[in-house]
């Protein structure tokens, strides 16, 4: 086995055995759960807003804003933790590991997309809301 062959085998193993997609799917489910619970708890207040004349778009905006806040608030400690992990892993294995700006931005975008997906799923409950029910 040549050095190049070994490198290819290693890359293929890490790509197939640890697909990062699972992490995001799992994350989306958790964010959806959080948003759904929050929406259910405040359903009456959303209905009130709808009843007094706020459009669906406005109320949906509130839920999506919450999703965005969750994404950013989750991303920042995640970034710090990853930073620490890179350093300790690099020190322990003596491998050159770098957290590049591009990777950080990519993960932020993926996180926002994940939360947006969850937000849209949680929205369905709000959009189906009948404002007449607050009476």
């Amino acid at each position: 086995m040549t050095k190049a062959e070994f490198a290819d085998r290693e890359k293929a193993y890490w790509n197939s055995a640890t697909p990062i997609g699972y992490v995001f799917a799992f994350g989306a489910i958790i964010v959806y759960q959080i948003l759904f619970a929050d929406v259910s708890e405040h359903l009456r207040e959303y209905a009130t807003l709808r009843a007094i004349g706020y459009r669906n778009r406005f109320v949906s905006g509130i839920v999506l804003q919450q999703a965005a806040i969750l994404a950013v608030l989750g991303y920042l400690p995640g970034l710090a933790a990853a930073w620490g992990l890179y350093h300790s892993a690099a020190a322990a294995t003596r491998l050159p590991l770098h957290l590049t700006l591009g990777r950080g931005v990519l993960v932020l975008i993926l996180t926002l997309a994940m939360c947006a997906l969850s937000g849209f799923l949680a929205l369905r409950k709000v959009r189906r809301l009948d404002p007449a029910e607050v009476f």
């Binding site: 207040e45 807003l49 009843a51 007094i52 009476f135």
Partner: protein
């Protein structure tokens, strides 16, 4: 298509159903009414009578199914959802539970009532605080809604409904969760603020204590709109029934004689409880709002009877002593020796024909006389008039008797 008049709400032959197929249930039957701008209308009726459904339809929260409905100049039947939402923005809503956003302050909640308008932030805050001041909550502007008392929250809700200066306010049981004093305060605020601004108010309630703020009272019973008079008679009969129940006493003397101490004590307690209930019932009856409602309805009722029977004048007289004469019909007053012309000379009214009926109380004693003067077509009264008038008089006497009794109760209290 806008309504031709300046009426705020025009409802015509409105029907409404819930459910589908075998579960389909009709809630509103052929409801028609018109509410002019600036009027305060109260809708009463037992729960399940369709009051709230009517309110949600008028509030553009539900799409009408059958019949026509215009609100603030917009036709709502057949309107699209976005159009309904636009109408909703012009209406102030007050809900049964205040429905404030608990995490926001009083001021922020009131600002929500300004909608998605592009007011500058400072202007929104100023308007909200002025409105909170108007409902007497100036010191609580920055308190969170969840830290306010029930009455204060409902007043914040009123401020939220009125801050956008809506043309109409819809309120569903605004006093349901409040005690008597704060309920009174809440409706008084609503009334005075509405009067200042010429706002139309449609208020659904079964709280009899606040009926007096209304210009007009509509009564819904099983989804059908009935007249106020019907409602009063129904209420009155219910009240009389309540009083009659408490009169069901057993022969006390017989009881007390052969009693040991323990039985005597428990009987006494039972009697006290009964008296308590009786006092509560009479307190309800002597309630000022109820009394004025009865008085007002009697006046309206008498006038309506006069209209129905096509006469020039209809009056009611209370009598102290019964003369027990059943019907007095005078075909030509000036030719009748019983008629006193001096009265006519004084009032300038030319009496031609007279129809008088006694009103009997429950014991069959005459306690009032009601009188019709002059058929509009100039002819004397006939048997048909007498029969129809007698039918009216039967319900009239129930009403009047209850009013007289309330008066008696009230004077007994003061003496």
């Amino acid at each position: 298509m806008a309504a031709a008049t300046d009426a705020t709400v025009v409802v015509e032959r409105l029907n409404h159903h819930y459910g589908k197929g075998a579960l389909r249930k009709q809630i509103l039957f052929d409801v028609s009414t018109t509410i002019p701008a600036g009027e305060i209308v109260i809708v009463t009726g037992p729960s399940g009578s369709g009051k709230t459904t009517l309110l949600t339809l008028v509030g553009a929260l539900r799409a009408p199914q059958e019949g026509t409905l215009s609100v603030l100049g917009h036709r709502l039947d057949g309107a699209r959802r976005a159009a309904l939402e636009d109408v909703r923005k012009k209406i102030g809503f007050i809900f049964q539970q205040h429905n404030l956003l608990g995490a926001l302050t009083a001021s922020q909640n009131v600002q929500l009532g300004l909608g998605e308008t592009e007011w500058p932030r400072a202007e929104r805050r100023r308007k909200a605080e002025a409105m909170l001041d108007a409902v007497g909550l100036a010191e609580h502007i920055h308190k969170r809604a969840e830290h306010l008392s029930g009455g204060q929250r409902q007043r914040v809700a009123i401020a939220r409904a009125l801050v956008g200066e809506p043309s109409m306010v819809l309120a569903d049981e605004p006093t349901a969760s409040l005690d008597k004093a704060s309920g009174r305060e809440v409706v008084d605020r609503m009334q005075s603020l509405a009067r200042e601004r010429g706002t139309t108010i449609l208020l659904v309630t079964h709280d009899n204590r606040i009926l007096d703020v209304a210009d007009r009272i509509l009564h819904l019973e099983d989804g059908k709109l009935t007249t106020f008079t019907d409602a009063v008679i129904a209420n009155t009969q219910q009240m009389m029934h309540l009083l009659a129940k408490n009169n069901d006493r057993r022969n006390l003397e017989q009881y007390v004689d052969g009693m040991d101490e323990k039985t005597f004590r428990s009987t006494l307690q039972e009697l006290t409880a009964q008296s308590q209930r009786f006092l509560e019932a009479t307190a309800l009856a002597s309630d000022e709002a109820y009394q004025s409602m009865l008085e007002q309805s009697l006046r309206i009722f008498t006038r309506r009877v006069g209209e129905l029977l096509q006469v020039e004048r209809a009056s009611l007289f209370l009598v102290d002593h019964a003369r027990q004469q059943l019907v007095l019909r005078v075909d030509d007053a000036y030719a009748d020796p019983r008629f006193n012309r001096a009265v006519d000379d004084e009032t300038g009214f030319r009496t031609r024909s007279v129809l008088c009926l006694p009103l009997h109380d429950r014991e069959g004693k005459v306690f009032a006389v009601t009188q019709l003067l002059n058929r509009r077509d100039g002819r004397p009264f006939d048997d048909d008039d007498t029969r129809r008038y007698r039918e009216f008089a039967a319900s009239l006497s129930v009403l009047l008797e209850s009013l007289v009794r309330i008066g008696a109760v009230a004077s007994r209290h003061t003496s």
